[in-house]
């Protein structure tokens, strides 16, 4: 029986890895996403944003100061601008690196803020340059006016001094003091300034030459400067604040998102943890269960594990116990340490081949103990695979069958003894059969011979009584021998073709006299549809029917007995066999139900007293039953006390198609005798005095010329000297028995190409194998002792006839 352990599927292995990788990836992703904004980064971003807000407000402050002449130079403004620009530069790269949050589009904000800063810078430049021009012209106008003052003071004329002063003061007011001039009033002022300048032009005041141009410049610039300042201040004045708001909402979103991922990560972790615990528990349970199994296994089985080369890596306690080795002595050793000489090399070669191919090996192995004793085990060796599909180890599980093996051995011995006993019994039966039959043959033969002579009525009467007793004794003897044979299981049916009708008529003939004497009617009814040519053991069938009908006649006092054979309808379809119902009915006393059970068991009769009345061993019905069992049938009884009896059985026999004769009521047995041309020479080989006498008498009476030999050797010598028409060979003789003689004679005949002489065996042994042996030895015929005269005659003529036709 070969079976294989399932190899591991490598794809499953990798599926596991892929799953783990995906899981790790998921964990990494969740973890990364759940990380809130870096604190350091957060601080830096906040710092920069705050710096921007601060810078922006500082810039506004400085610009206002500058506008109102409160700032001496632009250095602080420029410094502030640089400060703002620096923090702006620092911020954007960090912003760019921030992980995106889907609801906030900060690209827009960045672009917007960038644009605003550029615009603001431009407006700042514009303001500063215009402011410088304004300052420049104011300074110069102031200088000019101051120079004019100096000039007119030097002149020391009081004419128009007041006027000039007035104009100059007015100009000072209009040009120099930094008041906010509305667009509407600018033109009015311009007109007024022109007027004053015109007025002053009337006077010789050289310093005021370019005052007009500067005045115009002042007016023009002043008109625009406040608007420009406004623009600078208000452009991107929410510069840092916007960013701060944006960043706050960004952080809030990030935090929310991070929270969600954090939760997801936690859930995932919990799931993994649960899964891990569950797996762990499952594994523990499995391990526990496995340990239990292993313990159970170890209680019963002898377990060892080896590496692929057969070196022992593990043994259990039972192994140690049975092998007698200790663990240290076994581990690392090759398993052939326990090899005994019982098994051939081929045995182990086959074992290795089987398991190396990955198949399970079963077998019985004899192993050697430490110290030399032996033990038998029934072993199962299982190859185990590792994850790659290569054999990693062999596991052997064995049970100790030493006891069993011993039992087997003793059983074998017992069987041999039993067979010998059985053989002895058969031999005993055969011997006894022969020993008993031989004198019986003498009694019956002599009695027959005597009855053939002239006898007085008394003598005849007495002889017939002797014959009757001898017959009865023979019957009993046959019954006993038959029964013994059946018990020993050595009984076999000998089927051959027979005529049913003839058989039945023969039975009736046998019992007619007895029936007539008792005044009973004896009838035979055969179904018209029956085919009378059948194949079966006619002798045994005759025996059965004779027994049953004989019993019927024996036990019925009045009325009639009938043998009825009917064709049963079930075999109409099957043309090769015929099933018949046999019935033996009588009008006798019947048999009580209570007695019916025991009827067919040996040694019992319906009434023990009937033994005396009717005689018989009580084996008859038992034998009938056994015979019918052998014929796949069984006898049954239908009877009631006082109602007569009906014994019946069903028999299926093959139809003999060789002969197509149908039932014929007037059939008579024909005699196969043919007239012979000359007296036949018969050699009678018989060691027994009485039997020889009988046989010779019969033969002589029938016209044969007889010579005799006492044993096989004498027979051979005689045969070599003279030819015979037939030889009647006894089986058991001293010096040389019949078989040996026959064999040797056949050899002789072969060697010298002689015509074979028909040899007929005479034997008290009627068993099949004896017949077989006779034919094998070279015998042609067979006759059993004691034999009747006509039987002998028939057999002789048949044998010689067939021999003639064969020759």
């Amino acid at each position: 029986m070969h079976s294989k352990i399932q190899k591991p599927n490598w794809l499953n292995q990798y599926k596991h890895f892929i799953f783990i990788l995906v899981l790790l990836g998921l964990i990494a992703f969740f973890f990364q996403s759940s990380r809130n904004i870096d604190i350091q980064k957060n601080e830096r971003i906040s710092q920069h944003i705050n710096a921007l807000i601060l810078g922006n407000s500082k810039l506004t402050e400085l610009l206002l100061k500058s506008r109102y002449q409160l700032l001496n130079n632009y250095d602080p403004i420029n410094q502030t601008l640089i400060y703002i620009e620096f923090h702006y530069e620092q911020l954007w790269p960090i912003f760019d690196q921030l992980p995106p949050v889907h609801s906030i589009n900060y690209n827009q904000i960045i672009t917007e803020e960038q644009r605003l800063l550029e615009k603001k810078t431009l407006l700042l430049e514009r303001f500063l340059s215009h402011n410088a021009v304004l300052k420049n012209s104011r300074y110069y106008a102031e200088e000019l006016i101051s120079q004019t003052y100096t000039h007119i003071n030097q002149l020391q004329t009081t004419d128009n001094l007041l006027q000039i002063h007035k104009h100059l003061r007015k100009l000072e007011q209009l040009l120099i003091s930094p008041t906010k001039i509305q667009q509407q009033t600018a033109n009015a002022n311009a007109v007024e300034i022109q007027r004053h300048i015109q007025a002053l032009n009337n006077y010789p005041l050289p310093p005021l030459k370019s005052l007009e141009k500067h005045a115009q410049l002042i007016i023009d610039v002043t008109a625009e400067i406040d608007e420009q300042l406004n623009q600078v201040i208000h452009t991107g004045n929410r510069f840092g604040v916007n960013l701060r708001d944006f960043y706050s909402s960004y952080i809030a979103e990030r935090e929310k998102s991070a929270n969600i991922y954090s939760w997801l990560l936690m859930i995932l972790s919990i799931i993994l943890l649960i899964y891990a615990i569950y797996s762990f528990q499952t594994i523990r349970k499995m391990i526990f269960s496995l340990k239990n199994q292993q313990f159970a296994l170890d209680q019963h089985a002898i377990v060892s594990i080896t590496d692929p080369e057969g070196n022992i890596t593990y043994v259990n306690d039972l192994f140690l116990k049975i092998s007698g080795y200790s663990q240290q002595e076994l581990l690392g050793q090759n398993h052939r340490l326990v090899k005994s000489d019982q098994h051939s090399r081929a045995f182990f070669a086959n074992l290795w081949q089987t398991v190396k191919q990955g198949q399970v090996w079963h077998g019985e192995v004899k192993n050697k103990r430490k110290g030399g004793g032996y033990y038998w085990v029934n072993a199962t060796i299982v190859p185990m695979y590792d994850a790659t599909g290569k054999i990693s180890q062999f596991i052997s599980i064995r049970t100790d069958i030493t006891g069993q093996k011993n039992l087997e051995a003793s059983l074998k011995k017992a069987k041999i003894a039993a067979d010998a006993a059985s053989q002895a019994k058969s031999d005993f039966i055969a011997t006894m059969s022969h020993e008993i039959r031989t004198p019986m043959n003498g009694i019956m033969g002599m009695t027959e011979l005597l009855l053939d002579t002239d006898l007085s009525t008394d003598q005849r009467e007495h002889l017939e009584a002797v014959r009757y007793s001898a017959d009865a004794l023979m019957t009993i003897l046959n019954d006993i021998l038959d029964f013994s044979k059946m018990e020993a299981g050595r009984f076999e049916l000998q089927p051959h073709p027979f005529n049913l009708q003839q058989l039945c008529q023969g039975i009736l003939t046998t019992l007619t006299a007895q029936a007539q004497r008792k005044g009973l009617q004896l009838t035979l009814s055969l179904d018209q549809r029956l085919n009378i040519h059948l194949i079966g053991d006619d002798a045994r069938l005759r025996q059965i029917l004779l027994n049953l009908l004989g019993n019927a006649v024996k036990f019925t006092e009045q009325g009639h007995c009938e043998l009825k054979i009917t064709l049963t309808s079930s075999t109409a379809s099957d043309q090769t066999k015929q099933t018949m119902l046999f019935e033996v009915m009588d009008t006798g006393p019947g048999i009580q139900a209570s007695d019916q059970q025991n009827l067919f068991t040996e040694f019992s009769q319906a009434d023990s007293s009937s033994t005396r009345t009717h005689g018989g061993t009580g084996l008859g019905l038992a034998i009938c039953r056994r015979l019918l069992n052998l014929m796949q049938s069984d006898v049954a009884l239908d009877s009631e006390s006082g109602q007569g009896s009906r014994f019946y059985f069903t028999l299926t026999l093959p139809i003999n198609r060789e002969s197509n004769e149908t039932i014929d009521t007037h059939i008579k047995s024909t005699d196969n005798e043919t007239a012979l041309s000359r007296p036949q020479q018969i050699l009678l080989v018989e060691d027994n005095e009485v039997n020889r006498k009988i046989a010779m008498a019969v033969l002589k009476k029938n016209g044969y010329e007889v010579q005799h030999a006492h044993n096989g050797q004498e027979a051979l010598d005689t045969l070599k000297q003279q030819s015979f028409d037939a030889v009647l060979m006894d089986m058991q003789m001293p010096v040389m028995d019949g078989l040996e003689a026959t064999r040797l004679w056949r050899e002789f005949e072969n060697r010298y190409q002689l015509t074979p002489t028909p040899i007929i065996a005479m034997t008290a042994n009627a068993m099949l194998e004896d017949k077989q042996r006779c034919f094998e030895a070279g015998m042609n015929g067979f006759i059993s002792k004691p034999f009747k005269a006509d039987t002998l005659r028939k057999t002789l003529s048949e044998t010689m006839l067939s021999n003639e036709s064969n020759a």
């Binding site: 490598w10 292995q13 990798y14 890895f17 783990i20 990788l21 790790l24 990494a28 870096d38 350091q40 830096r44 601060l54 810078g55 500082k58 400085l62 100061k65 409160l70 700032l71 001496n72 130079n73 632009y74 250095d75 602080p76 403004i77 420029n78 410094q79 502030t80 601008l81 640089i82 400060y83 620009e85 620096f86 620092q90 431009l122 430049e125 514009r126 500063l128 340059s129 410088a132 021009v133 300052k135 420049n136 012209s137 104011r138 300074y139 110069y140 102031e142 200088e143 101051s146 030459k209 370019s210 141009k213 500067h214 410049l217 590792d386 994850a387 790659t388 599909g389 290569k390």
Partner: protein, 345 residues
Amino acid sequence: MTQTNKSSLLLATILILLAASFVWYWWQQQAQISQSQILYSPQLPTEDPIAPITPLQPATNLDPKVVSLGQQLFFDNRLSQDNSISCATCHNLQTGGDDNMPKSVGIHGQVGPINAPTVFNSAYNIRQFWDGRAQTLEEQAEGPIHNPIEMGSNWQEVIYKLKLDPQFIQQYKTAFSLPITAENLAFAIASFERSLVLLDSPFDQWLKGDADAISDAAKRGYEKFTNYGCIACHQGAAVGGGLFEKIGTLNDYFADRDNITQADLGRFNLTGEEDQRHEFKVPSLRAVSMTAPYFHDGSVWQLSDAITKMAWYQLGIELTPEDIHDIEAFLISLAGKVPALEPTQ
């Protein structure tokens, strides 16, 4: 090895790679933070200036090693394509921080469009270049390097050349950790330039209280400088460099000079704003005594001529010779001490 072991090894490798990538990523983050900490961090002004012109302050927050590296780079010809010119070629520290030519000459003798400004006190400029297109000194350093008519090179080329020099690499490693980056190189150059502040000019000493630091003419010149309104634009510690202004606010400068070039459009080139046409960054006058020729086109060789022209075009006035002389004396007194440089390799 068995399949189980192989699989375990594979898994272990993957895990290690994952862990390694995490660590690398984190370290990258760290590296970026520390990088920015190197850079110079400006402060908000705490006090208002007490006068239109204040004394120059020395640069702070400069790493001497970075400055030293910057100095080396400043004089390094490898910054130019044919290794013929360095920053110092046009911004010669011994000739006032510029090349004393109307227009600079780049590689292969190509003449530039505009006069080279001085590198001295350049840290005080609100922007760099006449049109103010560079926001920082670092940005400015990139300009000439990449300009085909100036140094005609690029950072890749420069870095490649510098990498071949083990001595340079040694020097570099003292200031920065490898690798050599353009950012670091620019920062080094800028740091060096920031250190080039001309301190302790006579005028500054006078501002600080030394009454005899400058001549009477210079004192008078300062007063006139203020009263005439020059100080409106040339103001602050750098006496200029703090705003953009049109050249020819009162009288048309370009009408008289003629032949208007692209460079003459000034800030307009950058912003496209009409009112910024012909606007330039007001130059610092601190080193003016050393940086002839003057104006963006380098058209005026004499300082007195520059003063005269400025007065006419910006103020519409004709100064007396006395005024010019005084103002000149004043301007000369603005020049501080050129810093002594550590000798470089």
